[in-house]
């Protein structure tokens, strides 16, 4: 297990999350990146690897220019939507474990309020959606809510998953967002509010859907020995893996529409870390839609396939529950920055800096990424 505990997240940074930001995506990305670099206690020019997430903000060269990086040794573009940040942790751990780099910056910024950059239009510029764009968009299958809805519908019909199960995820995330000063949503919700929210794409209601939001987030990942000299206690990447569903670019052609890439990644990550789901004390699970959390919990082995609905009910995901999840509010109630905020939050928890949302004594946790049409990634981290 060559990657186990070879790299640490040494710095975390976020901008304020909001709607209608006056800053460009790149400005937001730079702001978050500087915060993460400062948090690590290093200088911008110490960065020798850059993984910009997505293609909506700056590229590696922009960081060379702005940060005065004299010897950039690694950069990569990981084109898997919301799975990309956790996939980037795997790439960073690999180049840090092999001595290619000392400090890798993973960085993202977005401004979706600007122009016509809305969910229904944006994805059709992304190459991974080309089948959807050619064969489904002309029929009115345009946005992720519609594209993912049949997966959720099938799960409901095959396994008896209910609206209340979806609601349990939404309510847990919202409760946690209320403890977070940097969350867009600040009003409590109940299961009834969820059930009564307007239908977007059956079975997804408004409160099943993540937030369109503006902001930036970044982390610095450092080689384990180098991280020992950084500002904070170390948070080790103990296990990390990625996986893609069969027929990754076309949900319609997938043998099992309800199976995600994380089902392949999870056994690899748990084996690398030498732990099991029962050992996990806090989870930050990519929540583009409530249903995605339920499915990932099943695919990671926290319960049997089809049991994800009952698993999330009865407060298990809430603080004080058996698997406190999305302690920052998640994409559903904090902000949607492609899940880099999930990584930031896990590090905060494992440092013991979770504030009012701190999971008492959290030493081992996980973060997932879910991208595009079901690409997945999982990182298991522990406090040093």
């Amino acid at each position: 297990m060559a990657l186990r505990d070879q790299a640490c997240v040494s710095g975390i940074g976020e901008t304020a999350y909001m709607r209608g930001s006056s800053k460009t995506a790149f400005e937001l990305q730079i702001e978050a990146s500087l915060a993460a670099i400062n948090d690590a206690g290093i200088h911008p020019s110490d960065i020798d690897g850059v993984i910009p997430i997505g293609i909506v903000s700056g590229i590696a060269e922009d960081f060379v220019d702005n940060f005065g990086i004299r010897d950039l040794r690694y950069s990569a573009l990981i084109p898997h939507g919301g799975a990309s940040p956790v996939m980037a942790l795997q790439a960073a751990a690999t180049v840090l474990a092999t001595g290619v780099c000392r400090h890798v910056l993973i960085t993202f910024g977005r401004n979706v309020s600007a122009g016509s950059n809305k969910a229904g239009a944006r994805i059709h510029n992304m190459p991974q959606f080309h089948y959807v764009t050619e064969f489904e968009h002309p029929l009115g299958n345009s946005a992720p809510a519609q594209i993912y809805a049949p997966m959720a519908r099938r799960h409901m019909e095959l396994y008896g998953t209910t609206v209340e199960h979806f609601g349990a995820v939404a309510v847990a995330c919202r409760e946690h967002a209320l403890l977070n000063g940097n969350a867009i949503m600040s009003k409590p919700i109940t299961l009834e509010d969820h059930r009564n929210s307007r239908m977007i794409a059956d079975p997804f209601r408004l409160l099943d859907c993540s937030l369109e939001s503006d902001g930036g987030a970044a982390v610095v990942v450092s080689a384990a020995d180098v991280a020992a000299d950084c500002r904070h206690r170390r948070v080790f990447i103990s296990g990390v893996a990625v996986g893609h569903p069969d027929s990754p670019a076309s949900i319609t052609q997938r043998p099992d529409m309800t199976s995600l890439g994380i089902g392949k990644a999870a056994p690899r990550a748990f084996t690398m870390a030498g732990v099991t789901p029962a050992d996990i004390q806090v989870a930050e699970i990519y929540d583009c839609f409530t249903y995605a959390v339920i499915r990932q919990i099943e695919d990671m082995g926290f319960c049997e396939k089809g049991e994800g609905g009952p698993f999330v009910a009865d407060g298990r995901l809430r603080l004080g529950g058996a698997l406190p999840t999305n302690t920052h509010g998640g994409l559903l109630s904090q902000a949607h920055v492609w899940g880099l905020n999930h990584i930031v939050e896990l590090v905060r928890q494992l440092r013991g800096d979770g504030g009012r949302a701190q999971v008492a004594g959290a030493e081992l946790g996980l973060v997932t990424g879910y991208g595009d049409l079901g690409d997945g990634a999982l990182a298991i981290m522990r406090r040093g």
């Binding site: 064969f135 299958n141 345009s142 049949p150 519908r153 052609q253």
Partner: protein, 136 residues
């Protein structure tokens, strides 16, 4: 002022042109590997079973069963605003591949037998729709 609202058009490619021409001719065509015969959908360059790039096109019967479905209540593209709510259905075709289409009929359910309809949407475009097959 009259506002012209258009739907997104399929970005046809050389690879997919026979599929779209098939719809215009009233036929639902699936790509078949020219070497081993494996059927596939949507159109792509290689057969993932034998990696041949030889292609022939085979007409699907149009019969199948509902795999899943959703009802759109929000228009993510302005071209569909006047059609809300509308149902999208994913169908396991009798020949094997799965197809996505619009839906005509009462609320679908998984496993329901369906048949394809090719519907002339405007002068240029033909859309793939499905409806219940036999008694519904």
């Amino acid at each position: 002022m009259t506002e012209t609202v258009t739907k997104p058009e399929p970005p046809e490619s050389a690879l997919s042109a026979p599929y779209w021409q098939g719809l215009r001719d009233g036929r639902l065509l699936l790509q078949a590997c020219g070497a081993c015969g494996t059927l596939r959908h949507y159109p792509r360059l290689l057969c993932s079973a034998c990696f041949s790039d030889a292609v022939s096109w085979r007409q699907a019967s149009g019969h199948g069963h509902v795999h899943s479905w959703t009802v759109a209540h929000h228009a993510f593209h302005v071209g569909f605003r006047d059609e809300l709510p509308y149902t999208l259905v994913t169908v396991d075709l009798a020949e094997g591949p799965r197809a996505l289409g619009r839906w005509r009929g009462a609320t679908p359910r998984i496993g329901l037998a369906v048949k394809a309809i090719l519907r002339q949407a405007d002068a240029a475009a033909v859309e793939l729709w499905f409806e219940p097959d036999g008694e519904a």
